[in-house]
Amino acid sequence: MTLTELTALELLREMEAGSATAVEVTTAFLDQIERHDQQIGAFLRVDRDAALARAGDVDRRRRAGEKLGPLAGLPVAVKDNICVAGEPTTCASKMLEHYRPPYNATVVEKLLAADAVLLGKTNLDEFAMGGSTENSALGVTRNPWDTTRTPGGSSGGSAACVAASMAPVAIGSDTGGSIRQPAGLCGVTGLKPTYGRISRYGLVAFASSLDQIGPLTRTAADAALMLETLAGHDLHDSTSADAETPSFTQSLDQPLANLRIGVVREHFGEGLDAEVEASVREAVRVYESLGATVVDVSLPHGKYGIAAYYLVGSSEASSNLARYDGAHYGYRTDEQAMRAELDAERKAAVQAGRDPEAIDSPLVRMYRRSRAEGLGDEVKRRIMLGTYALSAGYKDAYYVKALQVRRLIRNDYDAAFQQVDLLAGPVSPTPAFPLGEKTEDPLAMYLVDLYTVGANLSGVAGISVPCGFSSGGLPIGLQLQAPPLAEDRLLRAAHMFQQTTDWHTRRPSL
């Protein structure tokens, strides 16, 4: 068996047993990237030398008998909206194409402290806005199962690289489904932990109250390992959960007795692909066969989820992205061209008898042009939507109303979790869709988050696990959701499923 086929836990065991070195493991994945990433486009940047140097250091310290971290020698790919000091962190935007942060994100600090090997940075929809990784300003990512299709988004690069065996694990971020949906479409396991479970410090903000970092892995067991390593309260993030981090890997094999699984009625309605529905229902039957009770539950306000999500998320995004103005860092428009344009406009205004002072000041023009040139259409669309939703006269009707709906959605979850331990349903309405299919129709693209946004709006934990394939050979994902801080239950249930089924072991032929 080649190293790139192994799970993270298997790789760590191999290295610990001395049957593979970190350099060998890292080399295997780097070679896989070199062979296949031309075709997939999962990575925006791979630093072969740095990765090998770090792997070599782990091997040297292992030989010297030093105590190593829990991820010693494990290659990890990181979504390119997470800061690595001194390395480009682009958010797949022209705005930050040449930006190098002066500091490490807390998750990166934790990965380094655990002796993981950073393989490189993965592609995403610009600023994590999108469901197909087609909104990247720096290149398209393709689905390893069918390169004419999208890997999903926004963590499409992270999902695709794990699916294509170019990394055993990858770090992503999930604002409305951005880990779970691409994991589903790429046939890997994707965990969105409880809001605040993993520090956001160093995750370039899209929507602060929704954003959550999480792992994309081959198995739930690997997800447990990653969560265990990355979770914990962070003094740099006051919204991070001040809760103990249980040993998720230790509790993984404990049986879940009397498990009650809720099937969300509203997740099986119009728009759900028949093959997806069949696979998900079959997955629920697997749980039944394992002794779980299946309960029909309702999340009645779920139908407002997409609307509330796009109002809250875009409002926060309009604010979070205001800093990209060309003044302090990132892209700035060509100043000479900007001045020439402004001078010409003012001259024309004078000739036409209009007030030249009514035209932008050079500063305002610099902002306008920098943002116009540096940001992509989808990002601009959301900034405008958010600015509108927050502006005087509309705030109560949109932003405040969306917050009220958000509260109702959270109440729905609370009520559902009174009845059941977990919720089960599809991750996304369809398997991976063709590249370009939804790019001209933003609303159709927004609907790919239909089943996932609820977890972000309410802060609960969710996971996507492979549960079948379409007739066209595309992976289908099962979504499980658990109450806040109940990741142990979530991971045990996902692990239980993966002990019984082998969907998660299938790999695309490249």
Partner: protein, 501 residues
């Protein structure tokens, strides 16, 4: 000339001035409001910055608990209510020295509201005016833009050292009725902040900045009208506040006479102006680029702050004695005049402490007050010293005053001794020795007086005839014979001797 006097002579219509102040106070914390960067003033540009205060992508703010504690302390001292729950909001606007594109502030749930500060009425210092405080809320400061327009360039350089410095914005009700009252309010507020130790109130360094909202309610034949409200921004000295308001009152009156424009007319909105100190006038700022839609919303990066009534009570208990209470205590405990108590209290807590020690050591609080105000404060002023740097301890000076009080030393000599103590760091007794001033005991003095009376029978006769002041002639002679004699003692003993004759 303050408008209050001018009012009587040069305006045809009587009017009331309506002023509300917004004061930004920089809190005395070691680090910024949302990161650990230093707040030291005057460091080289951009040396006190980190990913948080430069708004670097991905960085997150974390509240400085000390800043919050200082603001609660201030709000409690301003008699504000402290709600149990407060949150952080983002105020969005674009400016190059605002790196995140928004300022973190408190909007609809500030950390305090509904308080007041009492000031002496400038027109009648015995009366107290209570100025309402609408709210005091915390926010972060912005950076500084430095415009370099040399050699035809129009470069602007940005210094973000100040970004994120904690500011407490204290907003009054429109309760102030004159420029003099505005100044009195600011003086009292500054004193309070100094007593609380929450700010150094250094206006040159921007630790205290004032915006003033002002308009007039003019009485006309057709009833009372209000002139458009003008906000005068960034007043950086009390003098500027007083002058800008005086100017603006006059300007608004005359503008109303010329144009008749009033508040509520179509197209009339609040205007913003700045004070031009060189020209001694306010200047209207262009309002075109000023959009007032800040799109406030709760900052999702910061958790709300919960303050329990017990915590507020603990702060209240630990406040210490504040200026108003101190003034009345000095008046009652030491029988000082209101004016004197005010002078002492206005010098700050250290001077008050000095005074109290001096009063106790000298045994004469009023004499202590006089000496403090005349000799000590004058010396501090001349030598540019603080009371902490003053070479004479209150106990040491107290010894000197006690000698005066006991009649062992007259005032003139005491001043010499004071100067000598200051110059040579000697105690009162040492200084007297050094100066050759000896205390004359009563029996020696009696002998001397008897000799003088014997030599001046006319004085005896005059005194016996009821002209007590005739003794005065003997004092000069006594001093010639012994420079150390105390004139009051000479007078007393001579009178006693004559009475016994």
């Amino acid at each position: 000339m303050a408008y209050t006097e001018a009012l009587a002579v040069s305006y045809d219509h009587p009017f009331t001035v309506i002023i509300g102040l917004e004061t930004h106070v920089q809190l005395l914390t070691e680090s910024k409001l949302f990161c650990r960067c230093s707040t030291t003033f005057g460091e080289p540009p951009n040396t006190q910055t980190c990913p948080v205060c430069t708004g670097s992508p991905g960085a997150l703010p974390v509240m400085n608990a000390e800043a919050f504690r200082l603001s609660v302390k201030t709000a409690v001292a301003l008699n504000c209510r402290i709600p149990e729950f407060t949150k952080w909001d983002r105020k969005q606007y674009y400016y190059p020295d605002l790196p995140k594109g928004y300022q973190i502030s408190q909007f609809d749930l500030p950390m305090s509201e509904d308080g007041w500060l009492e000031i002496a009425d400038p027109l009648n210092p015995d009366d107290v005016r209570r100025i309402g405080i609408i709210r005091a809320h915390l926010e972060e400061d912005a950076g500084k833009s430095m415009h370099d327009e040399a050699a035809g360039k129009s470069d602007t350089r940005i210094d973000l050292n100040r970004t994120g410095t904690p500011l407490l914005e204290i907003v009054t009700q429109p309760d102030l009725r004159s420029a003099a009252e505005a100044k009195a309010y600011l003086t009292e507020l500054k004193l309070l902040l100094m007593y609380l130790g929450v700010s150094d109130c250094n206006m040159q360094e921007g630790s205290l900045r004032v915006d003033a909202n002002v308009n007039l309610h003019i009485e006309t034949d057709g009833g009372k009208i209000a002139t458009p409200i003008v906000e005068v921004k960034n007043l950086n000295s009390f003098r500027a506040v007083e002058r800008a308001l005086t100017y603006e009152v006059d300007r608004q009156y005359h503008e109303w006479c010329d144009t008749g424009r009033k508040l509520g007319d179509p197209g009339v909105s609040k205007q913003t102006s700045g004070w031009d100190d060189a020209a001694q006038r306010t200047r209207l700022q262009r309002s075109k680029e000023e959009s007032s839609d800040y799109r406030y919303f709760p900052d999702p990066d910061l958790v709300p702050v919960v303050v329990s009534p017990e915590e507020v009570e603990a702060v209240r208990q630990a406040l210490g004695e504040l200026p108003a209470a101190l003034r009345s205590r000095l008046e009652s405990q030491y029988e000082l005049k209101a004016y004197d108590a005010d002078v002492i209290v206005n010098q700050g807590r250290a001077v008050v402490d000095y005074y109290e020690t001096l009063a106790a050591a000298s045994g004469d609080p009023r004499r202590a007050s006089n000496w403090l105000q005349q000799d000590v404060l004058r010396t501090l002023n001349e030598m540019s010293l603080t009371i902490e740097q003053f070479p004479l301890t209150a106990a040491g000076l107290g010894e000197l005053l006690k000698l005066v009080e006991q009649g062992d030393l007259d005032n003139t000599k005491a001043k010499d001794v004071f100067a000598h103590m200051l110059a040579h760091g000697e105690s009162a007794a040492q200084a007297m020795k050094s100066l050759g001033i000896e205390q004359v005991d009563d029996s020696a003095l009696e002998t001397l007086c008897q000799e003088l009376l014997d030599a001046n029978p006319k004085t005896i006769a005059d005194v016996q005839a009821g002209k007590m002041q005739a003794v005065g002639a003997l004092i000069g002679q006594a001093k010639k014979k012994n420079p150390n004699v105390n004139p009051a003692d000479v007078k007393r003993i001579c009178l006693e001797l004559i009475a016994r004759m």
